[in-house]
Symmetry: C2
Subunit: 381 residues, 2 copies
Amino acid sequence: MTTGYGKRVFEIVQFGMGGVGRALFGLIVQHEAEIRQRLGIELRYRALADSSHVLHLDDTTALSRDHLQHLWASLNPKVAAKLETQAGAVRSPGAPSVVATELARLKSTSGGANLIVVDVSGASAEQMIPALTAVLRNGQRVVLANKRPLCGPYEDFKLMTAAAGLGWNRLRYETTVGAALPIISSLRSLLDSFDTIQEISGTFSGTLGYLFTRLEEGALYSEAVSEAKANGYTEPDPRDDLGGIDVARKALILARSLGYPLELEAIEVEPLYNHEMQQMSIPEFMTRVTDLDKTFAQRVSEAAAKGDTLRYVAQIKAEQCRVGIAQVGRSTPLGQLRGTDNLVQFLTGRYHTQPLVVQGAGAGPELTASGVLADILSFAH
Amino acid sequence: MTTGYGKRVFEIVQFGMGGVGRALFGLIVQHEAEIRQRLGIELRYRALADSSHVLHLDDTTALSRDHLQHLWASLNPKVAAKLETQAGAVRSPGAPSVVATELARLKSTSGGANLIVVDVSGASAEQMIPALTAVLRNGQRVVLANKRPLCGPYEDFKLMTAAAGLGWNRLRYETTVGAALPIISSLRSLLDSFDTIQEISGTFSGTLGYLFTRLEEGALYSEAVSEAKANGYTEPDPRDDLGGIDVARKALILARSLGYPLELEAIEVEPLYNHEMQQMSIPEFMTRVTDLDKTFAQRVSEAAAKGDTLRYVAQIKAEQCRVGIAQVGRSTPLGQLRGTDNLVQFLTGRYHTQPLVVQGAGAGPELTASGVLADILSFAH
């Protein structure tokens, strides 16, 4: 009854122990027995790395499972912790070296195990691409929640996806766009079944979703930004969200998944503050953001006069990518969207009169970790 | 670079040559070279069956590919055709026998090929379950667009899914609910990642979606039914849609996928016509349907008075399934839905303030066939 996979072992090397990393670690440690029982696969941690340290786990002794449980008990998922405080952790020699060690160990001890390297870090493309490409070239598997390795130079992206096999089969990255929402998998099914994708558009920032909902409700721009910051929806520096670059990265991932050979710099991005505000300190920016209130209020009321509303939208169409404010009808799916939810719509050859729409919470460590786990387990299906 | 699948062959036995069956056959015959190139897998038809005949294809000679191309050329995808007019077709001895022949042939000639039995027919659970269960027990694969094999007695469902391996891994049935919309796959990801599903609700009938949109716009019930029939949205006998049983089957499939041991008869279904109208001829029904205009107009205006609108909704919650008219807020995703689109929302432990929503066209031969192809190809990923 278990033909085709029997008892399969997947060994995991995880980069990143931030909010997503800790949530993922907790999910796997808490559910490993159930995963074995339900799906017939065994997930076994091999190494955990954060930005400075790495902990190689030795499962040749009985230590490993105890070690993981101990580590899990010592980590508060809500509080950042450094691996350097853990017994056995050593200073990281960098991702390529960590991966090389694990690939070598896998080869020398192999009982048919498979490796999955999970990148839930915020490391740069330069730091991660060589390591991830090496993993894929060795016939092993990669799951990404980190967008950056997919947003480096297009040549690197091409090499990495080519190394992932036909259909990029050993690379999964669902959570790089809209957390656990089925966006990349939907795109893949559309392409697999020979649909023609005419346009992908949507909102891919909960922070900016909140902001534009508040603007629609009549809040001043500066009020909305302050609230979003106070609610913890923004990065410590709100300009990291308001600049639009994070949305542009998601648009780039969708565009490249469609086969468009785009660079990040080629995406037209409309930031939500003026160029001269880039150099200010955070407190200064938070004071001066009121300068923008009038402009935004005017745009909101111009849209309202036409029965429309504003959303911060990414649009991918015929090799063109644009990220910025869009005026949309209030009764459209985008116009109806409220709060921090994400929404993506696919207009295709088959979904041509009305788009295929996926909508829901598109951020947060728990949701992202759950999507990463689903990606990991998809290798077992 | 192709570790893990190399050149894999999937042999296909297809039951059903109606609209979906012909569209699927066309998709595969037209794209087989591209599928081989993109995904490294070869799809090879072994047998095609309709309700009366079966055509076994012999690929030990060069005949097969020519034969398929010839067959495709002779079939008009828009016009129903009978296999009995095809050279080589024989009277079908029934699905179990057709499948037994192919399983035996597969064993005797095996070069590591895999079998996928595709049921895109409208055959009954009794006709199909023994055949499908045999396929799964032999370690092979099944893809269903036909809802009925999943809606027989729960005991049969349990045996069939148990035979599909851990995680029901060798059984796919995405298109039984909402055609190609990612509904079953989303459900699977939620369950795989240990989310807790509190409620699934949605509209799963394009026909009834159209009807309730027209009612909201002020049409009389009898007008809306006549229009739906004239537009080809209904079955030849509109009561097959208005009775709600097709929606109930979809609700049952979702409920059983959640692990609820329900029978179809346990689902509370609200039909959209009176019991005594069941025995009428179609023309008589179409005349007498005006009797219902007043009741429906009253319900619509009662809802409108509260700012609500009516939708025909399936609701699966805590082992309870209900299918019928629901009064929903106009600004909710269900209230905003227009026309024939389907919409499903998952309220879960993680999607708890707002649901995960999937929306789009949920019917039609091309969409359903595309979803079946995506299911077939998912075995290669």
